[in-house]
């Protein structure tokens, strides 16, 4: 199971058994979960008991698995249980403890494998004529552009108003609804509720550093959560999830009929178009094309591209192996990146001061101010360091290996950390300032009370003021005191 499905599994595991039963009604969903979410051992187990007529005894399972692999077995079982794929049958008088597949899952998976039924769970291909241009490269380009728009919106939001760009050459970024989704998911933040200026958050930076597939899921889960929270919108999140699994099982480059979809699923299509998962020809709303982003949702093969590969994607044609590892960090805080991807440059701009740009080379330097800016945006020093390490140029790898020294200059790494620490030396305590007491006596008493109940944070006897982090008790105390000596 790859890292990027972690989020999805977390999401799924939090769902109720009821939801799973509904989800597993669709063969595509069952199949997708089987393919995507299970470790190898769990898959083997499922396949082994899929066609068993009776529950499977745990004692038999112990015979199957080597004692040394007990940990893996327990892990597999716990995942299977969490995803409501198996149920345990407790020991009774006449039977030992056993396990069995849940009914819906078993039926759906059998259907998926056998290919029977009329559930249309794997989509209905459209019979309508398709234009010649709608080939796979076109779809890839389309999806990439859509997705890049979203990423650009996330990075470009730094210090620029409204996400709009200087040049009119490219598009104006993702749709408003997607923007709202990103803001709602706190990947980017408005500086103030009314301000049009937005900036990236720590979550947003983490998002950027993920693989594309994980990014897609992050966004989709945000979408699901939003739908869940907003129940009146008429979107059923279980149905949505199930539809996503359906999309994942479609074939890239084929067109599918929208007629075969239910009303609610047809309503989802516009959003999916915004994300770049689906393409619908402008003149023909009767058919849709899943893009690579959608068809690879549940496959472990890297989808459109990973982020690092993505940096090269924009510089199509010049991309080669070297570009993937593009960044050179020097001991004099200079950074050179072999890239011409606006996206990667935008990422670099988050934490360094860029100096010059040539085709395929960008020079910049890390400064206290630039790191501070990044830290203020919520990007951590560790994130920056790991970003630099993962994208280190092959020359850096070579020299590091030859001299047996760390990949990144340790001095720079320390300094980045120190710069971050520098910003963390102040701690804020929200609370209340008490001042302008009627008398010194009153001040003394109230202060002593605050001290006694342990809420006093700071006091200045000379100025007659103090600061406490909680107010209720003090308020009562003062009220009572006033009553006692009016």
């Amino acid at each position: 199971m790859s890292v990027n499905s972690l989020q999805l599994s977390e999401y799924l595991e939090n769902m109720s058994g009821m939801t799973f039963r509904r989800l597993y009604q669709q063969p595509s969903a069952a199949f997708a979960v089987f393919r995507r979410m299970l470790p190898h051992l769990a898959k083997t187990l499922v396949m082994a008991i899929l066609y068993m007529p009776t529950p499977f005894l745990y004692s038999d399972l112990d015979v199957w698995v080597k004692p040394a692999a007990k940990r893996q077995k327990d892990q597999a079982l716990s995942i299977l249980r969490a995803l409501h794929i198996i149920t345990s049958i407790p020991a009774s008088k006449d039977a030992q403890p056993a396990m069995a597949l849940t009914t819906n899952f078993k039926n759906s998976l059998r259907l998926a494998l056998e290919g029977g039924g009329d559930h249309n769970s794997f989509g209905v291909p459209s019979n309508m004529p398709v234009s010649e241009d709608l080939d796979i490269p076109f779809l890839d380009k389309y999806a990439r552009k859509k997705w890049d728009d979203i990423l650009h919106f996330v990075v470009n939001s730094v210090g620029i108003t409204d996400g709009s760009r200087m040049s009119g050459e490219t598009s104006n970024g993702p749709k408003g609804s997607v923007k709202e989704l990103l803001i709602g998911g706190r990947l980017v933040e408005r500086k103030s509720p009314t301000s049009p200026t937005i900036h990236i958050t720590q979550a947003g930076f983490t998002f950027l550093l993920q693989e594309a597939n994980a990014q897609v899921w992050t966004l989709l889960l945000l979408w699901l959560e939003a739908a869940e929270a907003n129940a009146n919108a008429g979107m059923d999140h279980v149905d949505m999830l199930s539809f996503l699994f359906l999309l994942a099982s479609l074939e890239l480059g084929r067109s599918y009929s929208t007629d075969a979809l239910t009303e609610s699923r047809r309503n989802m299509l516009p959003s999916l178009v915004d994300f770049g998962l689906v393409y619908i020809p402008a003149h023909d709303h009767k058919q849709f094309f899943p893009t690579r982003l959608a068809t690879t949702l549940t496959s472990s093969e890297s989808s459109l591209r990973s982020v690092s590969a993505g940096f090269t994607a924009a510089s199509e044609g010049v991309a080669d192996a070297q570009d993937k590892n593009a960044i050179i960090l020097e001991t004099n805080f200079r950074i050179y990146a072999y890239t011409s991807s606006p996206l990667q440059i935008a990422v670099l701009a988050l934490f360094c001061e860029l100096k010059m740009r040539f085709r395929e080379l960008v020079s910049g330097r890390l400064t206290r101010a630039s790191i501070r800016r990044a830290v203020d945006m919520g990007i951590t020093s560790d994130q920056i360091i790991s970003y630099l390490a993962t994208h280190a140029h092959e020359q850096m790898h070579r020299v590091a290996a030859a001299t047996k020294k760390p990949l990144l200059p340790p001095v720079i790494v320390d300094q980045i950390r120190l710069w971050q620490l520098d910003t963390e030396r102040m701690t804020a305590t929200p609370g209340f300032l008490f001042m302008e007491f009627d008398s010194v006596k009153e001040y003394d008493q109230v202060k002593r009370f605050a001290e006694d109940v342990g809420v006093l944070k700071w006091s200045d006897d000379r100025k007659g003021m103090f600061f406490a982090n909680k107010v209720e008790q003090i308020k009562d105390f003062m009220k009572n005191r006033r009553k006692e000596n009016p």
Partner: protein, 828 residues
């Protein structure tokens, strides 16, 4: 700030002529501008000397800002705005198809060059770039250079042609060479190197290989009349042999091998193709040697006029000395001792100086400890004429003489020292004199013998003037030196050609271009200078000190507080202790003399500052060198330069001169020549102690900029493990710290208004120790001599009048009479 440069200059239209010339004529781009973090060339310094104005205007004309790149820019993308709103986005420059094999990028606006050090061509490219550009940063992977007028001047002066420079740059460049760079090089160099001032048979000749240029000069209303009457333009074909620099392998083989052969060996095999521009360029170089040159004579008196005029009409004069054809000045019997071998980089630097068989004036930049002295000596041995060496202090003057005797076979009588204490002339008709800058620049009345010595110096013609630590000499001082003392060629030596002020901006024009600058990291890799671990120790301020620091507005007190921060003193003590136990010899530097004394006393160590007498200095230094019990010495900034202590292996800096990059580099230089540097795994240590959260931190970063660009890295130490547990740690109780604080405050207050010891402690600005006198209030204890307060007599003449009205009290009259009587009685 330079004006916002636009690609299409047509937009500017009429405005351009007015504004561009006013705003886009920044000052000299080098060397003070070498910190690469700024985007502009810096604003021109206001100079009031007329001569400097000329230079300024000459410099301005050659700034790259004049040349705008005309390349049409393609559409910009979203990322452009990160580069100064697209101004520094040069992605419109098209890459060559085989760009992967070419090592450099060139910034069309500022002439910055980025070099891939890992490229196969890097060595060749570096060799070329060091000649035509200034190195900015040279860490591991990517080096940066900057094309400046000065660097081009230097390139031309070693014999390169503009067309060669352009062709070679183009060959190395990954992109098409930007038109602005082409124009810049072509224009700058069209003016440089065309005219040379040659002294032949002690007559000055203005020489050029281009007759048209010479005609132009002769038609000039100022220069024309300067021509010596009755002389013609002489045309000679000079076929020059190259000089063999003593001490090199060439000299050993006594073969007249041309130096170019040597350098060609560096060219990797794949470079040895016919279209190899490097090679072609060297061949051209050789061709030059047999080119016809034209010259006319000018009288000695007109030299300066002509030089100035040439500068204004854009033909800066190169000075060259054809020393082998100089028969009038006697030859000096000097040669390197047979066992003296000079290192490859020293040879390289000297070959730049003697490139075409003549001695060129210029500056050679080598790190401290890399053998600058030997370079100077070798130069003197090559020229073999009278030589004057100028250095910064009496101490280093003696060191120079010793070095001369050590490396060369010069007769001890032929080399003398001229200082305040010693004023000897050499006996023969030529020789070497070592003196100090203050000795020859002092104005006003001189002692009789000094004056005689000065007359001797100024009346002679010197073959070579060696200028040690040339960065400490502000241009106006140097102007004085060169106007007093006539020399055919000048060689400046320094480790750090940078100053925070702009006082050396003109040295390039006054002495000559920078001929060579060595790569620190490379020399350290090769073991010529010690490997150094640099660390910056962050010492938090103690609460009391920080309180006071925040409260006061007095800069002096603030400085004293962060320098005297008890935690810093503790860290210093801890480090001294640690390194003494390791067997290191430690130098502690403090700029602040007050702190120097206090800390040295607190830790019980010897210190040397400006006020320390010469004998005491020598005693302390000898003890430091030879006495195994004395492992630590405290030095004020007098120890920054020219102090040769190969024993020292560890350096701790507790206070420094604001953001001076030069000082940091010079101080590091004190340990680069560590004796033990070639031991396996040996490391020298350089600690810089800074008080956290004070302005010191800010300066510290600035100071390190130069070294960091050379590839050094400063490790930040926030916590010295085990410091708290150390026994006998000073100031480790709050009581003691408070006392120290009080002392610092009181002493700072007391020192205010007195002579600013720190400012006068520099080698060059010392104007004798002034005894400050002031009126002051004081406690009764102080007034009666409890402190070091002393009275002086304001009106000495009053004493005489006192004697006149000799009115004695009756009591004393009677008393004295009694005494006299008693004596008389006793005698009877």
């Amino acid at each position: 700030m330079p004006p916002k440069r636009k690609a299409a200059s047509a937009v500017q239209g009429a405005v351009k002529s007015g504004r561009a010339s006013a705003a886009s004529t920044p000052g000299p781009a080098t060397p003070r501008d070498l910190d690469s973090d700024d985007d502009d060339f810096g604003s021109p310094g206001q100079v009031d000397l007329p001569a400097e104005e000329d230079i300024q205007s000459a410099v301005d004309r050659f700034s790259l800002a004049h040349y705008q790149d005309q390349t049409v820019r393609g559409p910009v993308d979203a990322a452009s705005r990160h580069f100064g709103n697209g101004r520094r986005d040069f992605s419109y420059l098209n890459l060559k198809p085989d760009h992967k094999d070419r090592p450099i990028w060139i910034d069309p606006q500022r002439g910055r060059i980025i070099l891939e050090n890992f490229s196969a061509l890097a060595e060749t490219a570096k060799d070329f770039l060091i000649t035509v550009a200034e190195p900015l940063s040279r860490p591991t992977f990517l080096h940066e250079y900057s094309l400046t007028t000065h660097s081009l001047y230097a390139a031309i002066s070693v014999g390169l042609q503009a067309s060669d420079i352009i062709a070679t740059l183009d060959r190395f460049s990954k992109t098409e060479l930007p038109s602005s760079i082409r124009a810049f090089i072509a224009n700058s160099t069209s003016a440089y190197g065309k005219v040379k001032l040659v002294i032949k048979n002690t007559k000055y000749y203005v020489e050029s290989s281009d007759p048209e240029v010479l005609q132009k000069l002769l038609k000039d209303p100022v220069i024309g009349p300067c021509r010596v009457q009755g002389t013609d333009i002489t045309t000679t074909t000079s076929n020059m042999q190259s000089v063999v620099i003593p001490g090199t392998s060439n000299a050993a083989g006594v073969q007249q091998v041309k130096p170019s052969d040597k350098s060609q060996e560096d060219v990797p095999p794949e470079q040895a193709q016919p279209e190899n521009a490097m090679q072609a360029l060297r061949e051209d170089d050789d061709d030059d040697n047999s080119e016809a040159v034209h010259a006319f004579e000018i009288p000695d008196s007109a030299v300066e006029t002509v030089q100035k005029r040439c500068l204004t009409i854009q033909f800066p004069i190169l000075e060259e000395y054809d020393f082998r054809n100089d028969d009038r000045n006697a030859n000096l019997e000097i040669d390197l001792k047979p066992n003296t071998q000079i290192r490859s980089y020293q040879e390289k630097s000297l070959s730049k100086m003697f490139g075409n068989g003549r001695a060129k004036s210029g500056i050679i930049v080598l790190p401290c400890g890399a053998g600058k002295t030997l370079v100077g000596i070798t130069a003197a041995c090559t020229i073999k004429k009278g030589c004057i060496v100028l250095c910064t202090s009496t101490m280093s003057a003696h060191q120079w003489r010793q070095e001369f005797l050590k490396w060369s076979n010069i007769h001890p009588k032929d080399i003398t020292v001229f200082t305040a204490e010693k004023k000897d002339k050499f006996e023969g008709n030529t020789g070497i004199i070592v003196t100090t800058y203050p000795m020859v620049t002092q104005s006003g009345k001189r002692a009789y013998d000094s004056q005689k010595m000065m007359d001797f110096l100024t009346s002679r013609e010197w073959g070579l003037m060696l200028l040690d630590e040339v960065h400490v000499v502000p241009a106006n001082i140097f102007r004085k030196v060169s106007s007093h003392i006539k020399s055919h060629s000048k060689l400046g030596l320094t480790a750090t050609l940078l100053r925070e002020d702009d006082k050396i901006g003109d040295l390039n024009f006054l002495i000559g271009p920078k001929l060579y600058e060595a790569n620190w990291m490379e020399l350290s890799e090769q073991g010529h200078i010690a490997k150094v671990q640099c660390a910056e120790v962050w010492c938090p301020m103690t609460t009391e000190f920080y309180d006071e620091y925040l409260r006061t507005n007095d800069r002096g007190l603030k400085a004293n507080l962060y320098i005297m921060n008890p935690r810093k003193i503790q860290a210093c003590q801890f480090l001294i202790n640690y390194h003494e136990q390791r067997g290191d010899k430690i130098i502690v530097f403090s700029d602040n003399v007050y702190a120097l004394k206090e800390v040295a006393l607190a830790l019980g160590k010897a210190y040397i500052c400006g006020a320390t007498g010469n004998n005491e200095r020598i005693r302390i230094l000898e003890n430091f060198m030879y006495n195994p019990n004395i492992k630590t010495v405290f030095l004020s900034k007098i120890g920054d330069t020219s102090l040769d202590l190969p024993e020292a292996t560890c350096l701790i800096q507790i206070s420094s001169h604001y953001g001076s990059r030069r000082q940091e580099a010079q101080r590091l230089g004190r340990i680069l020549r560590a004796k033990r540097r070639n031991d396996e795994g040996f490391n020298a240590f350089f600690y810089s102690l800074v008080s956290k959260d004070t302005t010191e931190m800010y300066y510290s970063t600035k100071r390190q900029a130069f070294l960091v660009d050379q590839g050094y890295s400063f490790k930040v130490i926030t916590q010295l493990a085990g410091m708290e547990q150390m026994e006998g740690l000073v100031f480790n109780s709050a009581q003691l710290r408070r006392e120290l604080l009080q002392k610092v405050i009181v002493d700072t207050e007391a020192k205010r208004g007195m002579d600013d010891e720190d400012a006068t402690d520099d080698l060059f600005y010392a104007k004798g120790r002034k005894r400050g006198v002031r009126r002051t209030a004081g406690t009764l204890g102080e007034l009666s001599g409890g402190q070091d307060m002393a009275y002086i007599e304001q009106r000495k003449s009053a004493n005489k009048s006192l004697k006149k009205n000799n009115k004695q009290s009756d009591f004393f009259k009677k008393h004295y009479r009694d005494i006299a009587r008693n004596k008389a009685n006793a005698q009877q």
